[in-house]
Symmetry: C2
Subunit: 374 residues, 2 copies
């Protein structure tokens, strides 16, 4: 395995080269007195492919081209300034949020952004442009304003200090009832682990239960608190960790259309309108531990009626979502849920005792991982 420092250096080199190559292309075009242009992948559901073997929603071959004209001059300049800022961030080992970039532009003279919506759009363009080169926004050193989730269990995270280059070894078994909070930028992290799987948990309450009772010690795993739909940093963290150590990822969420089609589907294959970045953020190796519609029956769980919005979400998924079209077992499960007309929370297992989930439910499930929904 490469050292964390080497890995960081390699990624940064790839990134700077991609930026330089793009800028040189524009320069040489200008020198030949041609109109410079940049091309972006078209970002819409119509330009999305889903191949279960690849495991995520992929961007298609559709491209749109922005040539330099009188009308596009400002945006074109802003795109180049934003690329230059990215290069500077990599070279100075720094990073910026979307907002930082917007405020930075106040020093760009006529290329200044008037609204953050404009700078966000240019950043999305750049992200899409470089995604084709295999370079993510995080590698360009633009970070989300939101943190990642919390992590506990049999994992050591190696994190290289921005300024000193010193590597900090963070042992996630040593956080007591607390946890390791995933940073906004995870590209430079490397991992040491002997864990057997990663368990991604929807609610903070359930995570706290499993963490406080050191569930990871009994089962040799890594717990991740998603707190709803996982942030970019959380998804990327799980993906990199799972890739590096060939770890299966099991999702443990509420049994309702939101838990299944928003939280789990986003974790596993990404989202439709951000297909150009799914390759970095999806976790194709994820499978669904529960709570399943069958669990509601098998474990006699207390339920709530499905709301209209739940039913609509489920029917939409069955009709339009390639994930449910391709995975027949998921389509059947979703249909079963609609027919039952109820939903169940993961904490409903507390009906049988607060720690039933630890003593009975999870061990039983983990004996038959092959039966998990895909």
């Amino acid at each position: 395995m490469k050292s964390p420092q080497m890995e960081k250096t390699r990624l940064d080199k790839v990134t700077v080269e991609a930026i330089t190559a793009l800028a040189q292309g524009i320069e040489s075009r200008i020198e030949k007195l041609g109109k410079p242009e940049v091309s972006f992948p078209v970002r819409s559901l119509s330009n999305v492919r889903y191949d279960p073997k690849k495991g995520f929603f992929e961007i298609g071959k559709g491209r749109s081209v922005r040539a330099l004209t009188v009308n596009t001059a400002k945006t074109f300049a802003q795109t180049l300034k934003m690329m230059a800022l990215s290069r500077e961030l990599v070279l100075t080992s720094d990073f910026a949020t979307k907002r930082d970039a917007y405020y930075q532009s106040k020093n760009w003279g006529e290329a200044m952004f008037d609204e953050q919506a404009e700078s966000d759009m240019v950043m999305d363009d750049i992200e899409a442009m470089f995604s084709v080169e295999g370079v993510s926004r995080e590698q360009l050193r633009y970070i989300p304003d939101e943190h990642g989730g919390a992590v506990a269990g049999e994992l050591i995270v190696n994190d290289t200090d921005l300024e000193t280059g010193k590597v900090e070894r963070i042992d996630c078994t040593k956080f007591g009832s607390g946890a390791y909070s995933i940073p906004s930028l995870v590209e430079h992290l490397t991992f040491e682990t002997k864990a057997k799987f990663i368990l991604c948990i929807e609610t903070g309450g359930m995570f706290q239960r499993l963490q406080s009772h050191k569930f990871w010690q009994k089962t040799h795993c890594i717990l991740v608190s998603m707190a709803g739909v996982p942030t970019r940093a959380t998804r990327r963290f799980v993906r990199r960790l799972s890739d590096q150590h060939k770890l299966p990822v099991y999702a443990f969420v509420d049994c309702d259309p939101y838990g299944i089609s928003n939280i789990y589907r986003t974790l596993k294959v990404g989202s439709g309108n951000a297909a150009h970045i799914n390759r970095f953020f999806c976790v194709p190796q994820a499978s669904f531990l529960g709570v399943t519609p069958a669990d509601i029956v098998d474990y006699k769980l207390p339920t709530h009626p499905l709301k209209d919005v739940d039913v609509k979400r489920a029917k939409d998924a069955l009709k339009n979502d390639p994930f449910f079209k391709i995975h027949k077992s998921w389509a059947r499960a979703m249909e079963q849920l609609i027919k039952m007309g109820v939903r169940a929370e993961q904490q409903a297992l507390a009906r049988w005792g607060l720690n039933y989930v630890i003593d009975e439910y999870l061990p039983r499930k983990l004996k038959a991982t092959a039966a998990f929904l895909p």
Copy 2:
């Protein structure tokens, strides 16, 4: 200083005694053939006092009494069952979320809750009842479903393991670009620190900048990411840490009515409709580092126009909020903001360079803490 283990034992003893005393009061009343009753503080703004010397919105003397009648029999029984569950949780070193408690009730026969709204209400009653005895909901071992914020800097957290009693020493200088994620329950934590202050930060992006550049090392402080209005766990964590080590707390939030009157005001004095718990959650030692309305002028910050909802929020605060009525300097600052008609984000400082906040703004501010808004 008491050892973490002793402190935990002491708190648990106080809690169990408070529960037992209340239950015995009811029992002896029944034995005298009287109607048992429980009394709760009235929870409304009309029953709130604000004394700046005490430093938080306090619950007044108004009480309502629930006597056992045919109509209240079920709720009365549920209240007692919930108290009994709390006692069991303390004795078994466990905890439960509101949802856990609701699902547990499914085994309570006729005292079962039909809706979670009912069990939430009974839990709020119990919380209010015991708050008068100085016992918080967290001491009763009912925990919020949400996590706390993230922490980094010159702090060691001592956390006692639920099951083994072993104390884990968590060094918050050793997390690289990541951080310590505050657990849902913080009552059992103790702290070692030589830091000079606690800096509570509104956005994840700004926290990440200060953490990645180890701002805490240069200034000897502890960074806390609030990510908007701080959760109960975050507020309680900051309060206990500040109390134990007599540390000043500085808030660094956006300059807008939401940042000032929701995030900061809630951190410092608590909220109006939860006055019975503010004594546990407020951080009266907090003061306001920035961004202030004056900073917008002094640092020529890029701004956004105030929205109608911002103006309404600010005017409401000036008219109805005891905090702004008592602190004239805050009323003046808020009036200035309304007059300027703009708001500024903390990240607007990036206008002067991404790390201007670290190199110039914060050091300058920290030289004149006496000038902070109260």
